[in-house]
Amino acid sequence: MSIDTETARRVAKLARIQVEDDALPALAQEFNTILGFIEQLNEVDVEGVEPMTSVTPMRLKRREDVVTDGDQPDKVLANAPDAREGFFAVPKVVE
């Protein structure tokens, strides 16, 4: 797999990261280097090996269906650049 400038532009856009046009070729090159490292992993034969999901034999931690959190609108909104009447206020997004 090879990443060209256009793909790099698209990935940046999907990640909402602004990248200037002249920086794109270098970014694409970096992606390719990373993918090259990962390509090497394909040389390992993993036929019949269960994908590892955790390094320790753990079971997914669960919680009971009980309300234990919330009631802190001020804290939730504390970092918002703009909050009004208990809401986050953001530039208009309407379909």
Partner: protein, 503 residues
Amino acid sequence: MLDLTYDTPKPKVIAGAKHDWELVIGMEVHAQVSSKAKLFSGASTQFGAEPNSNVAFVDAGMPGMLPVINEGCVALAVKTGLGLKAQINLRSAFDRKNYFYPDLPQGYQISQLYHPIVGEGEVLVEMGDGTARMVRIERIHLEQDAGKSIHDMDPAMSFVDLNRTGVALMEIVSRPDIRGPEEAAAYIAKLRQILRYLGTCDGNMQNGNLRADVNVSVCRPGQYEKYQETQDFSHLGTRCEIKNMNSMRFIQQAIEYEARRQITILESGGSIDQETRLYDPDKGETRSMRSKEEAHDYRYFPDPDLLPLEIEQAWVDEIASDMPELPDEKKARFISDFSLSDYDASVLTAEAENAAYFEEVATHGDGKLAANWVINELFGRLKKEDHDITETPVSPAQLGAIIELIAKGDISGKIAKDLFEIVYTEGGDPAQIVEERGMKQVTDTSAIEAAVDQVIADNPAQVEKAKENPKLAGWFVGQVMKATGGKANPKAVNEIVAKKLNG
């Protein structure tokens, strides 16, 4: 148990300008899990709370916060799967669906793309005309809901409330087995009924607790059968997805519009672009959601914050042992135990509360009589005031007592209606009301005879006419009923009037 069998309904056919077309519809229904807390946080799911007050830092996407799964939500998803006769996957896993939107602070939705908790199941969708469609369920997965954006509070800004962010949803995905707008509405209605019976989702469409994405395509007659034979989608047309519908009426209208739009394009030589569309109920049309298309690359990957969800068969069995009787079984039982019609049984089992009410009334006497009274009198009366069964002023015991009085012959059907009205508006013990207000039916023949004699004596001219024309006997019966305040046993009156006139 009586096994209900149905014919398969005919697919809806739309006549285009050139030829006939059929519809193929698949639905993704989002059902909010009836849990107290959210899927991965301890914040409340209560509807209508102050903005951003049901929000934990996990829901707000604060750095360093980790999701911990709510076991109650998992149990309800398993229960739903069992209710849809579906396969339960003892091992499932969560994935991240990445996209940016102001009401999704994490920047991704936690969902189950690759390994859903529930596999294949089925829903029997009755069409009310003796036909029913078996709609196959492909899968059910657990996922997070997004927050809510409000656009009309400020001209330049959207206001975001994260109370709904992270609430557990079950996405119930059907196969493309639905063949018309009416079937689509009936499918949603049936699914809603099952979920409400199970208590896993309240089915409140108005609040958005049950909403659907509807996939619509059209094909020439015969093509669908080829698809069913081979399960090869290439026999079907390209589909469009109509997003986020929360009204059965709008779902039908949107499908109808969308099918005609596609037919017009195809018949004029064009082709359908697979896209996401939105239904505008004011204009009655669907339109493309272009922004959604651009962001369609969700870059799913397994959520590294969550281990696979492994559940034990014993736990599933425990949930299975606690299943309520489901609508199909209940309906079949009502038909066989109470000799009800398919229609009456459907009405009575529409809501579990209705069915429970009826069953209690039916313990007081004949099932059919009980069904008539519950459906025609009680439901009719409740509907007049826009009430549902939970708001009934007449208890099952009271209605049962009225039915007992009818069955015993203490009151006529007509008086029973007056009695019902009294019980409905004033309350009280029906038997006592009948006693106190002298509503008891007169079955005493001598009393009826006296009344008949009186009417005959008062109307000699009518008696002469009746001798010529026996049909006039009805007039005498009416007069006697009037004279006795409707309390005379109509059968006895008929007999006595006939005897006296002929005698």
